[in-house]
Symmetry: C2
């Protein structure tokens, strides 16, 4: 963590200096007339966006929520490794890791062939494959995740807080103006303002208002999908059981009583169960069957035989039917139009699916992490508004993949086992599919297609393990200045900046004339350099593009004093030297980043990483012109 | 982390359920008439004690501070590995690790023989030896450490906060009563109460009120010591420099300009320098020489030649002269008396020394971590009040060792280098001594002598790496229930409970008849078992002695369902099953705890660990009678 750059300031470093002239927030304060961004909904999608925008007090952000306060329990609970990597950039991953339950192994239980009325364990799979991510797969109360985002928002320079009890009920867009063209109608949903109606004008509106999204309806979006006609129950319980794997994620298939999914939760006692209830008729909804928590507990006890569950407290429960649905577009631009979007939807507002692959909350946050930096770039005038069109393109493709996989997975989970599986003659299909899905469910399989934001794979061979279009896969390094062992990926914060990692070729120590030095000097001095072109006068040299270097030597073979000046820039109010731009390989056995990520040792390379941690390009160290061109296609 | 044991409760798990009927605290609230423990001073010693006592709302604790609020900057900054291990038990080590500067390497600089007016690096030492601790050596603003303790106090069931502006000015002890025999006189030190005087009666008083301690004076304690007649300056600065090791701990000796100690600090920019100023005359104090921050900056620039420092902001500075001093006893019991103590001193109130070995703050906190659980035991009626006499015995011996080492080290740091050292013909004495001191400065060398609290070394051979009297040296394990990889030492919290780690012999899987099972069943059922004897009716079975087991197998070779019932007790309001008592060896290459700590594989053993994390005893698994005897010597 870097702080005190503008002078010493006591207290928690997570509490950033507040920007002056902030709007007062609170139930008794007036709503603003106009804002830059209005976010509808304080679920994971909305809060992830708000936490990012709150870092920029020059952007006036408002986030409204129809409920009078944060939720306390229930809803989603899975955070995959990819989302954890993102939370690291928000500074909250350590807290999440400490207080949550880690999914280390997933166990599979099936009918015992000797006694099919009883289940037995048939397999166990390491849930996060070695070096698939430096982060764990964790389970957390969704309400608690909200709190951590709310804290991050409140601690940010904008000191952002939700305006509770206000619900978006409609909006109109005036195509004739660029001055806050969206007029949003808000209605007091809790009665504290006597069900008043207010309007707020906004430059951009993001609907994170769930499956019944008013924002989606206002822009003519419709959810298309199907239902599986299968009722499931979910409950968070404090219970005792003789079932031995209750602190592991378990998929349990009984011979004739249906299936159960067990998810151990934070705190060491609580766990969640998804319990298969009855098949529904084609015209029937789960709600109409009036299942109760007692039905669920009884079903779970039947499925888990010979084991039993003795429930001490039902913390939360719900009944739902599986379904998948998706909209045709995530913004307000009709097909065929080339105007720029003003209104977006994210999360459940534009794609819904069954909860059992643990994807919903993750994909929702990744939606707005994709959108956030683009809004910042456009609102700060760093990029043309056409950049915003890429949000729907990139995330719609991803959501379609999700719905498809989820569809397949839901059916596999509900399908009966074969005799060969039960007899142990073949690996159960559910285990095979689970293993195949790991990168997908971990969130690390996402790959954005080639575009202005994602370069062609021409030079992919220079860094085979850092695939263009996929998230930057972190690896261990050592920071030269203080010999700190760390993850390279953790150098990146959710600050809407681009990262440019220059991996030095063999023997290159940054000395004058070396390829790395030539790149650094060009980036610092040449008029065509993207660093110079896209950074404004008076801004820190790393305000838009943050250049870092990784060397093949260990710390004791390099000299910080001989590094190019771009790698030790003087920034901030006091012009203090930055000591955290130069890395070398780990010397204590954690692995060599060049080997781990397939980086060509002879030549090195440059890896361009987007503000949302996706690899935008891989280029040779001397591809100066291509580097200029790439950034010119994105930034002004 | 375990929580929800008494039912679901939302929000941060660090914020524990508040106990009812708490005293109101704040400047407008009346002071209490009587308390169990009155702590004078909110430095590291006082806060560490308060944070521990705050877990026990049945103990009425008051902590007073003469200043009107917490400090903001300055004072100590080093936290050694041993203290980090302790902070882990308070739940704040993760936060500290994240936001502080880690000391990874210590560099040594001396005059360059080719040009003695210039310095050059002569060596570098890994600051925390491999496997000396799982924790780093870190540097932090002392004020921030205070904040973290204050937060822990405030989040604890007692919701403890300091009573600011009140200074202890005197106390008397009435030997005729056991009902709050100490009468403490407090004076308003800031004038908010118009310099009023109040008295509070206490059962115990702990003076953590610094080198000029009024508590020490009131019990007739005197600091004896010597001065080194050498003025040093210390400054926390934001500065640019071409000195390459500014983000590492450095000991710099110049040929003729004196010495400098550099300590990089939190945030990536700030660093501390200790700068040698002039020798003082025998009768002279540093303060009388009127050194300024400019003198210090000028001296640092002379010493660091050819490098220079360009100071942008002096955050804090101070001038002091080295000295060491210690009192004869840390409590109010005169030599030769056998009565039990009522008043204690800790930290600077009973031992002072130079700051440059980074020991002061650490030893101060270890003082009160030693005292805390003893006060809890006695006040809760679990142990006889004679237990409290062990505080002064154990900590006085430790403080003497500290003052001696510090004395030696200060002189080495100020001593001129030899020609052979400068010429590189022999390793400089300062590097040799630094390496020798590492376990001492890390805080892990502390060893308490044999007593009722520390058993004899009769069976030490069963666990050679877990030395009786030294701190429990953690190692990696895997929790069986959820296959969580973790440090065994992190199972312990600062909750005044004893830990009993049963290491199973080869092949023992906890099955009926095995030595481990026999021990567990005896502990659970036998009338002589210390678990049964010292736990009260109605209390959780692990309320006083927390038994855990470690097996030689990996997780996939053990079955939780076959474990003895003592290792899966049902506790708390709801009687929920505990899943966190059974561990196995790491299966992913982190090391085998049996090898790492020299635990006899054929027989296993039992390791008894005190509430302050010190190994109290090592015994064979079947030494049931000795186990009973040991605990009977401590607990009622």
């Amino acid at each position: 963590m870097q702080f005190y750059k503008d002078g010493f300031r006591g207290g928690s470093p997570d509490v950033r200096q507040a920007a002056p002239h902030r709007r007062n927030r609170g139930v008794n304060e007036p709503l603003p007339d106009a804002v830059d961004v209005l976010i509808a909904g304080t679920g994971p999608a909305g809060l992830c966006l708000a936490a990012q925008l709150a870092q920029f007090p020059d952007i006036e952000t408002m986030i409204v929520e129809r409920m009078p306060c944060n939720i306390v329990k229930g809803k989603a609970d899975g955070i995959n490794t990819r989302t954890m990597e993102m939370l690291q950039a928000f500074g909250i991953a350590e807290k999440v890791k400490r207080e949550t339950c880690w999914v280390n192994q997933t166990a599979f239980w099936m009918p015992d062939p000797a006694n099919p009325q009883h289940i037995r364990r048939v397999g166990r799979v390491q849930d996060v494959a070695d070096d698939s991510s430096e982060m764990p797969h964790i389970l957390i109360n969704q309400a608690r995740l909200h709190e951590l985002f709310l804290e991050a928002m409140k601690n940010a320079p904008a000191r952002l807080e939700p305006d509770y009890s206000w619900e978006v009920v409609g909006l109109t867009i005036d195509p004739a103006t660029d001055d806050h063209p969206v007029t949003v109608t808000l209605k007091d949903a809790s009665g504290v303002h006597w069900w008043a109606t207010r309007t707020v004008r906004a430059n951009y509106v993001v609907g994170c208002d769930g499956a019944h999204s008013a924002v989606r309806r206002a822009i003519g979006g419709e959810l298309h999908g199907d239902a599986a006609h299968q009722a499931w129950g979910v409950m968070d319980i404090l219970a005792n059981t003789d079932f031995p794997d209750v602190r592991q994620k378990c998929l349990v298939s009984s011979a004739s009583e249906g299936n159960v999914l067990i998810l151990p939760r934070e705190g060491g006692y609580l766990f969640r169960m998804y319990v298969e209830l009855d098949k529904l008729r084609p015209d029937e909804r789960a709600a109409s069957r009036k299942f109760t928590q007692d039905d669920m507990i009884a079903a779970a006890n039947r499925i888990l035989r010979p084991y039993t569950i003795d429930v001490k407290e039902v913390v939360w429960w719900s009944i739902y039917d599986i379904g998948h649905a998706i909209t045709d577009r995530f913004d307000d631009v009709p097909a065929g139009s080339d105007r720029n979007p003003r209104v977006f939807t994210a999360g459940d507002a534009c794609h819904t699916h069954s909860p059992k692959a643990g994807q919903g909350m993750n994909v929702s946050m990744q939606d707005t992490f994709n959108l956030g930096w683009k809004l910042v770039h456009v609102l700060q005038g760093r990029a043309d508004a056409s950049l915003l069109g890429s949000y729907s393109r990139e995330r719609l493709a991803e959501a379609r993949r999700l719905v498809e996989t989820d569809h397949q997975w839901s059916r596999i989970m509900s399908a009966p086992t074969t005799q060969a599986e039960r007899d142990g003659l073949e690996e159960p299909r559910i285990i095979r599919q689970f293993k195949q899905n790991l990168a997908f469910t971990g969130g690390t399989a996402v790959q954005y297609g080639t575009s202005a934001l994602v370069g062609p794979a021409t030079h992919q061979a220079l860094a085979q393990g850092l695939e263009i279009g996929r998230r930057f896969h972190s690896a261990p390094v050592v920071r030269l200045s203080d010999v700190q062992r760390m993850q390279l990926g953790h150098a990146a914060e959710a600050d809407a900046r681009w990262r440019l990692y220059a991996f030095a070729g063999r023997g290159d120590s940054g000395a004058p004339g070396s390829p790395l030095r030539r790149l650094a000097d060009w980036l610092e001095q040449h008029p065509d350099s993207p660093v110079r072109r896209h950074t404004r006068p008076g801004e820190d040299i790393d305000a838009v593009i943050d250049v870092r270097a990784v060397f093949q030597q260990t710390f004791d073979q390099l000299a910080g004093e001989h590094m190019p000046s771009l790698l030790k820039p003087k920034t901030g109010r006091l012009g203090l030297q930055d000591h955290e731009k130069v890395f070398c390989v780990d010397h204590k056995g954690a692995g060599d980043i060049f080997d781990m990520r397939g980086i060509r040792r002879d030549s090195g390379c440059v890896v361009v990483v987007r503000p949302d941690q996706y690899v935008a390009h891989v280029l040779p160290l001397d591809a100066h012109a291509e580097l200029s061109r790439f950034f010119a296609g994105v930034l002004r």
